[in-house]
């Protein structure tokens, strides 16, 4: 932890619209992992650790057998509902190589969303249990509904307009136009298209909601010392954090500080560990489940006060090459592909390496933030080697 581990390789499968991948989730994971390992200049058999988050299908014992790993010395995944664990999984890889539980850990996520397993829909269940019993009977059944409930109140409290939500979508789509991997390349978004698009759940238009995609992404984490001998310049993990405030795990919108993206504690820990502040960040990838939740995370991490948000995100400030905080420079979940946010980790690493298709000049600090709106949140800050 704290600049002792580094990312040595990044890789991904080709990305596909939901349900169109010719490959299974396991096959997609294998493709992404092979590419990340090759990028690092390692042999596949040298991988001795596997880490993920909310990964129901592609489990390490099976994956290690399929990949032909000599031995698997470490495997883990983080707790949480899903996309909020992206950076936390990277942190586990960091901690494990730093503590010598393994030498070369692959952190990965693979998605192939069959009709039955789509995140964007909800299967009809006759009975709802636990906290869900207090929301589902009233038609509150998807992540979009949850994000919309949080966002509506946030907009009300801080005078945030629909234009601010649009800015997130416009930035992601603008950046995707430069990225050959992006599924929305060739489909530019205008402000007018945004406002005229159909509602999913007010205040979310369809462009406020992430895509559903098939694909996999992976990185190789090792110690900074080992990474220096590998093929690509190492990208040190300066700091990572996972955070949950007092009773933030309470259900049905009864957190003490509702609405929250669950990023206040994440920010406190991250900036303290990194010895940096939000204004030092050169480029940021924010997991867009929904644009409104990204806005909440931006303020909770301290990039601006909620009442300044409208101005902070406007006038192209989030857009490469001229904005002060280029955001989601690969297109992110909205416009590159929805690989449960792991494509944002790859992009954050590429920004430090100088390999982005929207490359920010002289990147010293590159941030990747996991899903907002679900507790606990997590974030990871990469730095120049």
């Amino acid at each position: 932890m704290f600049r002792r581990a580094a990312v040595a390789g990044v890789g991904e499968s080709d990305y596909y619209a939901r349900g169109t991948s010719p490959y299974s989730a396991t096959q997609l994971a294998a493709i992404a992992i092979r590419r990340a390992v090759e990028d690092a200049g390692l042999e596949l058999r040298q991988i001795d650790g596997l880490v993920s988050y909310l990964e129901p299908l592609v489990v390490p014992p099976k994956l290690a057998a399929l990949l032909g790993l000599d031995h698997l010395d470490f495997s883990a995944q983080t707790w949480g509902w899903g996309g909020n664990g992206v950076a936390s999984a990277v942190a586990i890889g960091d901690a494990a190589v730093t503590a010598s539980y393994a030498k070369h850990i692959v952190v990965y996520r693979a998605l192939r969303q069959a009709e039955k397993e789509r995140f964007g829909r909800s299967d009809l269940v006759p009975r709802a249990h636990g906290d869900y019993a207090f929301t589902a009977p009233y038609g509150m059944v998807t992540a979009a509904h949850v994000g919309a409930m949080q966002t509506r109140r946030f907009m009300h409290e801080h005078g945030v307009s629909q234009e601010a939500l649009a800015e997130i979508a416009l930035a992601s789509y603008a950046h995707a136009q430069h990225n050959p991997r992006a599924l929305k390349r060739g489909h530019p978004l205008t402000r007018r298209m945004y406002h005229e698009s159909r509602w999913i759940a007010e205040p979310f238009h369809v462009y406020d909601c992430c895509q559903e995609s098939d694909g996999a992404a992976a990185i190789v984490v090792t110690t900074l010392e080992r990474a220096r001998d590998l093929r690509k310049p190492p990208v040190p993990i300066l700091a990572a954090s996972q955070g949950l405030g007092y009773r933030d795990g309470v259900g049905a919108f009864n957190e003490r500080h509702f609405p929250t993206a669950h990023y206040r504690r994440v920010g406190e820990l991250l900036w303290q560990r990194a010895g940096a502040k939000p204004g030092d960040v050169d480029v940021a990838q924010f997991y867009e489940n929904f644009t409104g939740c990204v806005l909440m995370a931006i303020t909770e991490l301290g990039f601006c006060a909620p009442d300044e948000l409208e101005r902070f995100v406007s006038e192209g400030n989030l857009q490469w090459p001229n904005g002060d905080l280029p955001l989601n420079t690969s297109g992110g979940n909205l416009a590159e592909a929805y690989i449960h946010g792991f494509e944002n980790v790859n992009e954050a690493v590429r920004q430090v390496r100088g390999e982005s298709t929207c490359q920010v000049d002289q990147v010293e600090l590159s941030l990747s933030v996991s899903a907002p709106g679900y507790a606990p949140g997590s974030a990871v800050l990469f730095c120049r080697g």
Binding site: L124, V125, R127, Y138
Partner: protein, 142 residues
């Protein structure tokens, strides 16, 4: 919601809330703390013994959504529909999810005063009474 829709699975902790026809919240029998949704243990003193606290069903809309996309085929005939989050007048820190009946989704606003009504559902020999909400009329104010 549609006729064949998701209902609460009743358990010892939520049975009173969903069947009594009164707005009753989980209250710790030891220290008196009220928590919603109900939990398996009091978060303040860790007692596992509970009673209920009855509330007058008055509140204000704290947040809301208007769902347009049918996330499930069963919802196709129901969209667009509003889901509201109500902050109780007696205990504003307690928020309850529900639907606002007899009000068009485009007429919902944050701060709107509402009162509880009960939606009776007979299902498998059980009678559920789901708390729902109606706009508080002028002459209902006190």
């Amino acid at each position: 919601m549609p006729d064949r829709w998701t209902l609460p699975a009743l358990d010892a902790r939520n049975r009173a809330f969903f069947t009594s026809g009164r707005l009753v919240l989980q209250k710790c029998a030891s220290c008196g703390v009220v928590q919603h949704p109900p939990e398996e243990m009091c978060h303040a003193c860790h007692s596992m013994d509970f009673e209920t606290r009855e509330c007058r069903g008055r509140g204000t809309v704290y947040s809301f959504i208007v769902a347009h996309h049918a996330a499930n085929p069963a919802l196709r005939e129901r969209v667009p529909y509003a889901v509201i989050l109500v902050s109780l007048d007696e205990m504003p820190e307690v928020r309850i999810v529900g639907n606002l009946l007899d009000v068009s989704p485009d007429r919902v606003w944050i701060g709107m005063p509402v009162r509880t009504v009960w939606e009776r559902i007979e299902e498998s020999g059980e009678t559920l009474q789901l708390p729902q909400w109606k706009a508080l009329e002028e002459d209902e104010h006190e």
